[in-house]
Symmetry: C2
């Protein structure tokens, strides 16, 4: 029995995520109808994942469903926005019900966790491509932007860096590491956790913020460029996970540039943000209770450009400037 | 010289469309920031076009840019919404500057015409796929929906039907027809004109509305199903363009089912809507001045199901039930 587009949408996606009172009309009409409170601005982010480019062929569809939404919630987090609604454009070669069921499960679980309702989208036939748009609400005038960094601000990151980049290398080069570390690192690559609570807590505190999708060098670079400032980054202080450190320590023969992954590799989906030193206590009060943690890694300076220094003061030279699709 | 994602976005898309005062932050941050007036609901529609599925390989990129936005504006039209903002997820195999320039030109011209600003999106590498989300504003409680058709309502369509379906056959089967007709029909397929003014004028008048993307049978079927009603359609009265009629008249040897294109073929992007007979004069006042025209083609009835009749009362039997991606 052929499965029609309508059946698929009804079966797998019509009830995905949370039920929200501000959705006048969800999946099933020409467009969704949504209510934005008068004291809120609407934040919209749109990201695409392509099979074989943004995830390896054969990736667990539940992980793809999770990640397609997660990368967009990460963008909303970087604006300090509260996630509300999502739309999904799913292009796939054929209607594989097992695949769809798993994809919808991964997508819905994350949507539910952050109170997001799937309100519309499109289902088409073609090479596997997933585009999600996430809509969030942010108090008017309080959004975190890229252009608010000022000289003297301290630079922070949440969580740990380089895990996703290391996982990608492990998968690509089929390198054996202890299962515990491998599972942690691959989960960091395939199931990133958007730092939504951290982003919302940073409203009114952070001068500038961005999420780390292309790597710290490239993404911090955007903040500096948009803010017209420069920075020094202390590369030895970048937060590294236990799995990351032990995988590298156990394998002294690994290529030396792996040590640069926390600086240059993408896909971590942590937040990078700047805060004036005068707000250090307020920052601790706002973020101290969150699981992800946060760490100071540098300082904003008037002199443009990004200087990467080791703790002994020597410069750190890095080849790659982050991941660019057409670089 | 390699062209980076950032350069491409800056060069071709950063200024696309209109400049709007309600855009707090457009292209260039983690998310766009938008202001929705307190007396408006937000309508969002998302549609994907896939190379070789929704347009033939080698289609003029300006036409693809136009159509990717047009099909979404058509969805907003079917809600009675005023278009405001768009986001664009563009996946393409390589950064071909000629292609991008033409695509952006087609997209921007249509955006400009309807006062739409491009506020964000994503650019990725992979098989050519274009997803657009259009955002519109509609007075609270006045949106046109699919579920408002009532027995006794008259069924109308704008414009003419079957042109895009006929154009697709001409292209696929490489059939020679007079250039004037061919150009008209191919333009109807490649550059559909979203019926935005008609949709907005129908607010408060039409009981139900939908845009014709999958063909009249399938799309009217959605209205009937959602409204819990049935209808009779007078198939000989469906509006056919001169190009459509003359192409079929000149070629008596053409397969007979071509005559069913106005009923079953997709891609016309006209509106189908229902209006109580008591509002006939108001309808004429609202739509009479528009170029596209509109025509009564049937009547809503209590008995469910869709009955297609010829003018002599005999039933019209149609094989295809509209285009379904996975049908």
């Amino acid at each position: 029995m052929p499965v029609s587009e309508f059946d698929i949408i009804q079966r797998y996606f019509a009830g995905a995520g949370s039920r929200r009172d501000d959705v006048v009309l969800g999946v099933g009409d020409d467009a969704a109808l949504l209510r934005v409170p008068p004291d809120r601005e609407l934040a919209v982010a749109m990201d695409t994942l392509v099979d074989g480019v943004h995830f390896p062929y054969g990736t667990d569809p539940a992980a793809i469903g999770h990640k397609a939404l997660a990368v967009n919630l990460s963008d909303l987090a970087a604006m300090g926005a509260d996630p509300a609604w999502a739309t999904l454009a799913l292009t796939l070669p054929q209607p594989d019900t097992d695949w769809l069921e798993a994809f919808a499960r991964g997508f819905s679980a994350l949507a539910q966790r952050f109170g997001v309702q799937l309100v519309g989208g499109d289902l088409t036939r073609g090479p596997l491509t997933v585009t999600v748009q996430a809509h969030g609400l942010v108090p008017a005038g309080r959004a975190l932007r890229r252009d608010g960094a000022r000289p003297g601000d301290e630079i922070y990151v949440t969580g740990t860096l380089g895990d996703a980049g290391l996982a990608l290398r492990l998968l690509q080069e089929d390198i054996a590491v202890p299962a515990m570390h491998r599972d942690f690192l691959v989960a960091r690559l395939e199931c990133p956790q958007p730092r939504v609570q951290a982003g919302m807590a940073l409203g009114g505190l952070a001068g500038a913020a961005i999420d780390l999708s292309d790597g710290l060098l490239a993404d911090l670079g955007h903040i500096l460029e948009r803010s017209g400032v420069g920075a020094t980054l202390w590369v030895d202080r970048l937060p590294r996970s236990t799995a990351f450190r032990e995988t590298l320590e156990d394998r002294p023969g690994l290529e030396v540039d792996w040590d640069h992954l926390p600086l240059a590799a993408g896909d971590d989906y942590e937040l990078c943000f700047t805060v004036p030193p005068s707000r250090r206590a307020a920052l601790q009060a706002a973020l101290g209770g969150l699981d992800c943690g946060y760490l100071k890694v540098g300082i904003v300076e008037e002199e443009t450009g990004l200087r990467c220094l080791h703790d002994d003061g020597s410069p750190c030279v890095v080849g790659a400037a982050g991941y660019r699709h057409f670089g």
